[in-house]
Amino acid sequence: MPSTNVTTIPTDQPDPFVTRSFLEEVVDAVPGDPRLTACLQCGTCGGSCPSGPDMEHTPRQLFAMINAGMRAEVLRSNTPWYCVSCYFCMARCPQKVQITDIMYALKRKAIEDGESRSSSAADAPKFSEAFVNFVENYGRSFELGVAARFHFVQHPGEALKMATSIGIGMMRKGRMDLTPTRIKGVKQLQTILDRARELGGTA
């Protein structure tokens, strides 16, 4: 055996040649084990999905794409944003893949990576942001404020007309507040949320 100078890779440092796969990244972004690696590609999820026909990829396709490391395509897909969170797929999945929770994780990743802006559902995160903004500031949701912030800014035209007619009807029926309600412990809540943001990550 010819003698060669072999440099060993120190084991206390991550192997520079092995990067964490996109699949692992997605799995890590879901609390607990989402069982994504157990997916059989059977397609029960897409077949059970009420908004499946309007999705650019069915959940099954999306999972195959995650496995193939197609990061940008996955994060630009409208699929997670068109998920209505009905848990039909999860109830039927023979492998108990936590599909709805994976969709939430993909939404977070798409925003984090900035890919959601290139999605055909680019407005969807803005709705969530408008909603959450009131919750963070008041401790309660505020429909009129969300509608105003989201529709007046994002959707002048038809959608705005519909939102306005609904808003007026809601007020007439005593079903919509004109001002937001603030909880007493809003400071306490914000402290908790700040700390949670610092801690970041999932388990």
Partner: protein, 327 residues
């Protein structure tokens, strides 16, 4: 777990019941008074984040929800937390469940809560949907014994929506796709219950805000199905379902050239009517699609039992469905 007589239920109304689903809150408290159910509202509760916060930031979303769990667990002697809104119910039980399953998550959530002087031990309270209280604690027999104005001839389509029976972390419901508790509850009121095929299909949730055509199609399917089954009303147990089917019904009619007129009522409103509570105290009049025409059917005499066709002697035996009996 049924609380003892003295122990009230912890109550988490959620943002919707404060305003857009006021009728749900009003009818719940009116019915609770008659039945002697005690609901103690969690002091200074906050929004559960609906399906929005989880899309943005996970740990703050869990911390937001768990503040409510911590407040509920530390207040009074109640060991249960009842949510009438299916989305709130799901969020509260999801966090409770996942904190129990993933200890590392529980410790992160508790670290965040500690910044506000709070803590929560997963599993220390039982999270329940309001329907569960009526079905499993009050019971069909007790309710039917209190009915003074039976809903004979009112055809009710029981609509569960998604989040009550799926994913059902607490394992309370008989089926994720075909639960029957609300059906039996409506039967106990004397109503003619429609075997509603789309009973657990999705109303679209917040989809009206994301893509209106997708949302309106989901709503149309449900209305069409109820219409095909000749339902007078759809009974709901979730503010989001009520809002989508009721408020957007006119928009569905406009978009698809249909002419649906199906009032969407909270199941508690129907219980209230059957118990003889006045419609005004039950939040009637807040619905966009007026329930007046349907309500005019109530107060009629018990219909004559339907005649059964005798099977021919040569016919093979058929499986028998369970008899639905008017009380």
């Amino acid at each position: 777990m049924k609380p003892s007589n003295e122990e009230p239920y912890g109550y988490y109304p959620g943002c919707s019941l404060e305003k857009n689903a006021l009728a749900y809150n009003e009818s719940t408290s009116a019915v609770a008074n008659v039945l002697g159910l005690k609901f103690e509202e969690v002091a200074d509760w906050n929004c559960c984040g609906a399906s929005e916060y989880l899309a943005l930031d996970i740990l703050p979303a869990y911390a937001l929800i768990s503040r409510n769990l911590a407040l509920a667990a530390s207040s009074s002697g109640s060991h249960s937390l009842v949510a009438p809104c299916s989305a709130c119910f799901l969020n509260l039980s999801k966090v409770d469940h996942q904190m129990a399953e993933v200890p590392a998550l529980a410790s992160q959530v508790n670290e965040a809560l500690a910044a506000g002087g709070l803590s929560y031990q997963p599993g220390s309270i039982t999270i329940r949907h309001l329907l569960d209280v009526f079905v499993n604690d009050v019971g069909f027999d007790r309710i039917s014994s209190l009915v003074t104005h039976p809903l004979y001839e009112l055809r009710v389509a029981p609509y569960y929506g998604c989040l009550i029976s799926r994913p059902d972390y607490e394992g309370v419901y008989d089926s994720p796709e075909y639960p029957t508790g609300l059906d039996h509850l409506m039967t106990a009121l004397g109503a003619e219950v429609v075997d509603f095929p789309l009973k657990t299909h999705c109303c679209g949730g917040h989809m009206t805000q994301i893509s209106e055509p997708v949302a309106l199609e989901l709503i149309r399917r449900l209305l069409q199905n109820a219409h095909e089954y000749d339902a007078d009303v759809i009974a709901t147990l979730c503010p989001m379902c009520q809002l989508n089917l009721d408020v957007y019904q006119e928009h569905v009619n406009h978009a698809f050239g249909t002419n649906y007129h199906i009032p969407i009522l909270y199941f508690t409103q129907l219980i209230g009517l059957a118990l003889g509570i006045r419609a005004k105290e039950l939040g009637f009049g807040r619905e966009f699609v007026s329930a007046k025409r349907a309500l005019a059917k109530i107060g009629k005499a018990r219909p004559a039992p339907k005649k059964k066709r005798k099977p021919s002697k040569e016919a093979l035996p058929m499986p028998q469905a369970t008899e639905v009996e008017y009380r």
